[in-house]
């Protein structure tokens, strides 16, 4: 509940402020969002498992975003940016799905 509230607040701030994303950051933003989503769902699952730790969460959140951006940057430099982006999205997508399944089991017991 409180997480959803935070999400809504973030969206509202983002829409109100609507900052201009600099040209160089544009390819990394969607990947960063997916990485952040993965960290948040991981945290949510850990929270429900009762093993949540804020330090681990903050570190994993920041490092996820940075590493995802770094991989895409590296791929761009090597000329395989779009393929690496796809790879990152696939891996993070699988993790998000698995975590969502665990969260679902926690909440609905099904």
């Amino acid at each position: 509940m409180i997480a959803v509230l935070g999400l809504v607040i973030g969206v509202v701030i983002g829409l109100l402020v609507a900052p201009d994303v600099p040209e160089w950051a544009q390819p990394y933003l969607p990947i960063a969002v997916v990485a952040a989503l993965d960290a948040v769902f991981g945290a949510l699952r850990a929270f429900l498992d009762g093993i949540f730790d804020d330090k681990v969460f903050v570190v994993s959140f920041i490092s996820n975003v940075l590493i995802a951006a770094l991989i895409v940057y590296l791929g761009d430099q090597l000329g395989v940016g779009s393929q690496l982006s796809t790879g990152v999205v696939v891996v993070l997508g699988i993790r998000i799905f698995t975590n969502m399944a665990a969260i679902r089991r926690h909440i609905f017991r099904a």
Binding site: I2, A3, V4, L5, G6, L7, V8, I9, G10, V11, V12, I13, G14, L15, A18, P19, V21, Q26, L29, P30, A32, V33, A36, L37, A39, V40, G42, A43, L44, R45, A46, F47, D49, G50, I51, F52, D53, D54, K55, V56, F57, V58, V59, S60, F61, V91, I94, R95, T98, N99, A102
Partner: protein, 264 residues
């Protein structure tokens, strides 16, 4: 497949489990509330990222639209300027012709020369002419798309050729007089006549014998071509006979390099 298995089996950071194992067994109230603050902060950041990524996506579309509009404005400006220059040029050409006529009307050889010049200019399309003729308005089909139902340059060429073969003496398409130097061709999806892009409907004015021209046009290959388009692709065409048509002069007619052989 150990990579995928690993991915499915341990989707959350190992760090959580390690931290849980090493953490002292207390987890009081203050501890849990700090968890919540972190979670809220992270979701706020996540929402913020989501919103600006989505916003970026949305805003780049109007940006393209804006650039497109800007280009269209510039094209229209250039078109207006071109038309202005054409008008100015035909005015100046008229003035030249008047001065020429004044200079030649003094003696009898000059008058004969003027007569010959008038005839040639009429044939070449350098003067505006008026007379009875037919007016053909042809337009894309109502349900035209990129593939079917649109008038192509070749259709307009066939139409114009059909009019020539049925006895037209002067033809203009959307105000552009056709001369021996006028090209009708396609550029992208637009038809250009005399290097100006036209937009449908295309109005073709042809001066000639109104008694015979419509029938001869209908029998000509060009007329049959257009008729085929009308009946098969629902292209819209109306042909009317007019008592008085004005076919403008081609203002840009000028030979810079070609010379008459032998005469001088």
């Amino acid at each position: 497949m150990s990579l995928l298995n690993n991915l499915m089996a341990h989707p959350i950071d190992e760090g959580y489990a390690v931290a849980a194992r090493t953490r002292p067994k207390q987890g009081g109230k203050a501890f849990r509330s700090r968890h919540r603050v972190m979670l809220v902060a992270a979701t706020v950041v996540l929402g913020f990222l989501l919103a600006i990524a989505a916003g970026q996506n949305y805003r780049s579309a109007p940006e393209a639209q804006k650039q497109r509009n800007e280009l269209i404005t510039r094209i229209n400006q250039a078109d207006t300027r071109l038309n202005g220059l054409r008008t100015q040029q035909s005015q100046l050409a008229g003035e030249v012709r008047r001065l020429q006529a004044a200079g030649l009307s003094n003696d009898s050889s000059g008058t004969a020369l003027q007569q010959k010049l008038d005839d040639l200019e009429l044939q070449a399309g350098a003067t505006a002419v008026t007379g009875a003729g037919i007016k053909a308005v042809i337009d894309d089909a109502k349900d035209a798309d990129a593939k079917e139902g649109r008038i192509l340059d070749v259709d307009l060429q066939q139409l114009v050729n059909g009019l020539w073969t049925s006895g037209a003496e002067a033809i203009a398409v959307n105000g552009h007089r056709l001369t021996s130097l006028t090209a009708i061709r396609g550029a992208g999806s637009a038809i250009t006549v005399d290097y100006s892009s036209l937009t449908p409907p295309y109005t073709v004015l042809a001066i000639g014998d109104t008694a015979t021209m419509p029938a001869r046009f209908a029998q000509s290959s060009g007329g049959q071509w257009v008729q085929y388009l009308v009946s098969n692709f629902h292209v819209r065409m109306t042909i009317t006979t007019e008592d008085s048509l004005l076919v403008p002069a081609d203002a840009t007619i000028a030979l810079r390099y070609a010379k008459v052989t032998g005469s001088r």
